[in-house]
């Protein structure tokens, strides 16, 4: 059993500053056995729609080796700066991360109009 957490920062950003939007994903092993978190194959949903840049982003890059074998009670995290590939339209958006079939609580991000 894993727990998935998600944060988007900043949670409120001006429309001309969305390039700095950063997604922080965290997976915690709540079970009693070591697990492959499958974070590399995770899916990010923005307002219910799958975000494909996240797929390429999280599937590539340097990372904590424990991501593939996470001992019980430990956690791994991964960050990606998606910027306007995450959201660009003004308004409030809901972001959810799904890892190995487990969904995170939604994270909110608000893009304020210029």
């Amino acid at each position: 059993m894993i727990e998935v957490r998600l944060a988007v920062s900043p949670s409120e950003v001006a429309a001309d500053a969305v390039d700095q939007l950063r997604v922080h994903a965290e997976v915690i092993n709540r079970g009693e056995e070591t697990v492959d978190t499958q974070l590399v194959a995770s899916a990010l949903y923005v307002d219910g729609q799958r975000n494909f840049p996240w797929g390429m982003a999280i599937a590539n890059g340097a990372r904590d080796a424990r991501e593939h074998a996470l001992p019980p009670g430990e956690r791994v995290s991964a960050d990606r700066v998606l910027g306007r590939a995450l959201v660009s339209e003004p308004g409030e958006h809901e972001v959810v991360l799904e890892v190995a079939g487990v969904r995170s609580p939604p994270a909110k991000v608000t893009v304020t109009p210029l």
């Binding site: 194959a41 840049p53 797929g55 599937a59 590539n60 340097a62 960050d79």
Partner: protein, 432 residues
């Protein structure tokens, strides 16, 4: 390397071999002396004088064992005793006078009992605790480098300057090195007795970490941020560095130093009492090469296009240790997008590279992942690649680092949907 007044040179020898050689010399000489065909030497009068000096050296050894003298002082006295070649003559003479008993008593000097501080390598020759073979190679791991420097260096104040930092951090003591063989040191070029009060003034160095290719710890080329320990055979001297940190230290027998960024620096040791100086040049380098070793291939559900692999990065050059360096891949767009991928891009697909935005410390547990998943049918041939700037900085520092390596990650797909992902020498291919 530089040498100024005082003829500074770089030390290179190891005491182990010298001491072993000395022991063998003694044993051989005893054997030869016990051989009745060989003449006994030196003359009895000389033997008596040498034995008297031997007895004096033993007394010195006892005093050193009992007195809380500073380590350099003990070492110097021990060295003087060890350099007293007349003791060997005394042994020869003694052996010739009472051969049967001596032969039975001869022991391995390195196994001789004694106090933790001083050992009698053989009668009259004492080895101080600074004897390099008794000190393990510093096994400090990279994350402790900063702490290690602080532990060895400590605060720069008057009180601390009078203390011996080696006593506080004995594990950090580099293995003492001898610059030349015992035979070479025993006599001057003209054959005369050496002046035991003026041992060669030279800088010895030892890196904190091992080079992956097995280059010696005495190497003068290191990675940025790689800690080096310098010493002048235990002598308390003043240290300066033309660059790096710390820039200077006064009254230290050991100097732990590093150059946090690529470049060169000259380390200089000065004896405040004699004015002798010695210096050594150190070159610190950033990674200039990156190779990937495939650890495993990803398993994906059949029917979709894609391939992936877990990688282990190998940073070069391999004759230095980058354990105190952090690595960051910088983001960027795709290059040479063709066929299948160009079609998807036109439809809105984003092939930009969004890497981990945080610097990660280089170590053997660091991994990379290269993959592309979920490519939909219908397939057709196509490709694109990323040119990835790789930035490096000294661990635990801020800043954007310096880009010294550009790597390439390539993606290609065939008309049948077979996908290949390649990165810096590693590759994975998978059919849908």
């Amino acid at each position: 390397m530089h040498a100024a007044a005082g003829s500074g040179t770089i030390g290179g020898g190891v005491i182990t071999s010298t001491r072993t050689r000395r022991r063998r010399d003694i044993e051989q000489e005893l054997d030869e002396t016990l051989d009745s065909d060989r003449p006994r030497e030196p003359a009895p009068a000389d033997q008596m004088l040498a034995l008297q000096r031997h007895a004096g050296n033993q007394a010195v050894a006892r005093m050193l064992r009992e007195a809380p003298r500073s380590r350099p002082a003990r070492q110097e006295l021990a060295q003087r005793a060890a350099d007293d070649a007349s003791v060997l003559d005394a042994i020869r003479g003694a052996a010739s006078l009472r051969a049967p008993a001596t032969a039975g008593l001869l022991q391995d000097p390195t196994q001789d009992g004694g106090t933790p501080d001083l050992h009698q390598a053989h009668p009259g020759i004492v080895i101080g605790q600074g004897d390099g073979t008794e000190v393990a190679t510093p096994g400090i791991t990279a994350p402790e480098a900063d702490t290690q420097i602080a532990a060895v260096e400590g605060p720069e104040d008057a009180q601390t300057a009078t203390e011996n930092p080696v006593d506080a951090a004995p594990g950090a003591v580099p293995e003492a090195a001898t610059p030349e063989s015992e035979e070479e040191r025993r006599t001057e070029p003209d054959g005369s007795e050496p002046d035991a009060t003026t041992p060669p003034f030279q800088i010895n160095s030892r890196t904190d970490m091992k080079a992956p290719d097995g280059s010696p710890d005495t190497r003068k080329k290191v990675a940025m941020g790689e800690v080096i320990y310098f010493d002048v055979g235990g002598r308390v001297v003043d240290w300066t560095a033309s660059a790096g940190w710390p820039p200077r230290r006064r009254g230290r027998s050991t100097y732990a130093w590093e150059l946090p960024e690529p470049g060169t620096a000259t380390i200089t040791a000065t004896d405040p009492d004699t004015g002798e100086t010695a210096s050594v040049d150190i070159e610190a380098v950033a990674p200039d090469d990156l190779k990937m070793v495939k650890l495993s291939e990803d398993v994906q559900a059949p029917g979709t296009g894609g391939a992936g692999m877990i990688l282990s990065p190998r940073f070069g050059p391999r004759n230095v240790n980058f354990g105190n360096v952090e690595w960051l891949e910088q983001p960027g767009g795709p290059s040479s997008v063709t066929g299948y991928f160009a079609d998807l891009q036109a439809a809105g697909a984003d092939w930009n590279h969004y890497p981990n935005p945080d610097f990660l410390r280089i170590n053997r547990h660091l991994t990379d992942h290269a993959a592309i998943f979920g490519l939909p049918a219908p397939f057709k041939a196509g490709s694109f690649h990323w040119e990835i700037p790789n930035a490096f900085r000294r661990a635990a520092t801020r800043g954007s680092g310096e880009v010294t390596v550009t790597s390439r990650q390539s993606f290609s797909i065939q008309a049948n949907g077979t996908v290949t992902v390649s990165k810096q020498g590693a590759s994975v291919t998978r059919a849908p």
